[in-house]
Symmetry: C2
Subunit: 477 residues, 2 copies
């Protein structure tokens, strides 16, 4: 007879299952309810077992998702030291983006930098092709009719239906279709700010925001952002109470580059703060539907009482990367955003909007998303394993809650600008940490992407970047 | 034996031909060289005859194009009095644009306002459809690959080839593909100006420029613009010499709304002026390929020595109104424009870019354009005839050199804002003159479009607008 407490027996069972490879790294454990049924024990016993496994570093909790077998890769979380070196200019960021883009067209380049799928089998191209052909045959006016904002009513209705599962109750009339999520962000910033205003950015943040803010005459304040829980609300509240922010941009679900998602309570508090201080929040969520859990967690927008949240997303990461179909639900700024869209770029190609609408209506999207998430999750596990094995001792990395981006913190003397140049000379592109900050922080950090199908060449490039990282020392640090 | 001078005999012959309907209004007379061969006389005799016919109001010269049988419509040219009334806001313009766009989706609306083709047979939809289907079958990655600026190299090469006939020598590398000509203008203004700068606009000008400037924090100075020769270069030079302009936007070929094209010498002087004063000129030419003559006249860009001209155009009026394929050749601002495009909207759908590139390569475009020009020219003739017959006495109108837009000057007490509202109540949209000016001039003017296939309903709407125009009096004038 086993004298260990019941929960300890469960812990041992699970460790055996994991050691035997029955449960693999990255796989989700049964929900507490499922586990109760399986083991015929009470929820408190299951929770005790899961917590013990978590304490031993065998599994990990992901906010709003459940418990997962922890990566075999022994990668501690980044410390997020806000190291600041020589100030970069927004041109530095654009120089790097140019190099990444050039790599896309160079046949022999290996790109580890962008979250921009290419020539892949991950997307339902066959079905999209079929719908497109059918539409252009049946409605040739989709090629000849001038498209005006806010874009296809059918597509906006589909988006409104889908975001119900993010906790958002929107009408088709609340949504404007844009040229990718990029234009959604750009319109949002122009609608809520005037030149000279100050915008709160997460630190690190999406790299294109740095030059975008500069081009609009806006200043940035960086707000500490945690690799598992996201934006620091204490720091944000301090800035809000000092009236130092005219707007905020945040990625509360599947952050770029950190991969984290804010816990539900934090999202509620964020919504409450921006409504209380009446400061617009641009909620940037192009990766949200790549959340590794069973369902996309609620958006901050779900708790937005008075329309201060401008929700931005797209189908560029999830369905048709080549079509540039993004959207924005601008809350109280609907009129301004629509008018800026009319004056700046007018409409989007209706043919592509209708193709996506028809695809969403026909019902295969959730099935496709499940496969895509599994796929990215498994590639992420391999990527983390490679980093653990081939990067210098002392390397830390995030444990993303979704998507295809990994944030890597190298030993503090590493200079990833130097690493970027060394890798580029060998036709490999990596994204150095400095471009994720308006203040040039994160010189010892790197963002890696696993958005392309895994290949030997990709694996060799990773090994080589690990070697180069060991040689790239910041001599001024 | 005929004792009249030789040229007078020719004049009588031509008048007979025109009275008999052998030569119809809008048709082009033989070139001087052709006429010499036909009549076996010297060029000076032909020129004397053509000038006499011009003096008698039977034919008209069009810059860089030749002589045309004048419209039977007895419509004197607008006087272009720079009447200024209550200042409108840029919101007024957007309110009107919203009404025009709403009319596009209302089935029972008759739109006389926009230059935005809809559901028409004027465009080679069959061929475009065929290319699109073929491309998506052969290159499914066009749907899945992330598109980056500057856009399809193949399309940019085709554009560079085509603009040779506009006098421009450009490389594919000098061109960036945009979301229609709207985005080209918006990027150009952002690249050359900073908030607080002043931009010289033609008066009247393209209506979307007024709110666009405002949204970018730019002021406008309106420069007198003549209904046949375009932008006043004397007025422009005055402003340049006083250093009052940071940039200029002009439409030197097929102006919107005036329909005029600047004479070649004026274009050369304009290029010389902006190079001398080092002030960027945004040359906006989406209607240029709808020029009624045999060939598109040279662009100002053709004479741009040092890259101060940013040439903007699109295929939205000429080939695929639904695809939003525009482009810009930004001269010395290439880097700034490319970077703003990356930061604001990223790329355009590559599938649609490649479709247009393939269409242009395959060689049917010039044939299509000839048909489209003939078509618009004939609809324009009918439109001018209707205005002459059904609008109040004293109405004047332009004699466009191309395109589908007619600028109508009503008796000075007419209030076209009131006319706009009265027409809208009867589900007809017209564009009141005030929205073509940042200063609210042209309250007695109207822009009419004939971009849709002619119909009885269109004709009835025109008659009704003529009646309403007689009743719309500006009581404050």
């Amino acid at each position: 007879m086993n004298h260990e407490p019941l929960y300890q027996q469960l812990v041992n069972e699970w460790i055996t299952l994991i050691q035997n490879g029955v449960m693999r790294p990255g796989e989700r454990l049964p929900s507490v309810r499922q586990a109760c049924a399986m083991h015929k024990v009470s929820p408190s016993t299951i929770l005790a077992a899961y917590r013990a496994l978590e304490d031993r570093g065998v599994i990990e909790a992901r906010p709003q998702s459940g418990f997962y077998v922890k990566s075999s890769a022994n990668l501690p979380l980044p410390r997020m030291r806000r190291q600041s070196t020589a100030l970069p200019t927004s041109d530095d960021v654009l120089d790097h983006i140019e190099a990444f883009m050039a790599a896309q067209t160079g046949e022999d380049f290996i790109d580890l930098s962008l979250a921009s799928p290419r020539g892949s089998d991950f997307y339902p191209t066959g079905r999209v092709k079929q719908i497109l052909n059918q539409l252009i045959r049946q409605q040739p006016e989709l090629a000849t009719d001038y498209p005006f904002p806010p874009g296809s009513a059918r597509l906006r209705r589909q988006i409104a239906q889908r975001v119900v599962s993010w906790g958002c109750v929107l009408a088709a009339e609340d949504i404007v279709i844009t040229n990718g999520c990029s234009e959604a962000l750009s319109l949002a910033l122009r609608a809520v700010c005037k030149p000279g205003d100050t915008v709160g950015l997460e630190s690190p943040t999406y790299f294109a925001l740095v030059p975008l803010l500069k081009s609009l005459g806006l200043s940035a304040i960086e707000i500490p952002t945690h690799p598992t829980t996201g934006l620091s609300l204490d720091a944000l509240e301090l800035l809000l109470s000092e009236q130092r922010l005219n707007a905020i941009v945040a990625m509360p679900t599947v952050h770029n580059p950190l991969g984290c998602s804010m816990p539900l309570e934090a999202k509620k508090r964020l919504a409450q703060l921006v409504n209380q201080y009446r400061v617009p929040l641009i909620e940037d969520t192009p990766h949200a539907e790549l959340f590794y859990g069973q369902a996309v967690p609620d958006a901050v927008k779900a708790y937005d009482r008075d329309g201060w949240v401008l929700l931005c997303s797209s189908y560029s990461k999830t369905l048709v990367p080549g079509f540039r179909i993004g959207w924005i639900a601008p809350g109280r700024y609907l009129k301004e955003v629509t008018r800026l869209k009319v004056a700046s770029t007018l409409g989007q190609p209706r043919l592509l909007e209708e193709t996506v609408a028809e695809y969403l209506e026909s019902g295969g999207y959730d099935h496709h998303l499940r496969g895509l998430r599994r796929h990215f999750m498994s590639q992420m596990e391999r990527l983390r394993g490679m980093v653990a094995s081939h990067f210098p001792a002392g390397t830390r990395a995030t444990s993303p809650s979704g998507g295809c981006l990994l944030w890597v913190e190298l030993p503090s003397a590493t200079d990833t600008q130097q690493l970027f140049r060394a890798a580029l000379a060998e036709r490999i592109t990596v994204a150095p940490g400095t471009i994720y900050s308006a203040k040039g922080r994160y010189r010892h950090c790197l963002r890696l992407s696993c958005c392309y199908p895994w290949s030997d060449a990709f694996e060799r490039a990773l090994v080589r970047v690990g070697e180069l990282a060991g040689q790239s020392r910041n001599t001024t640090a």
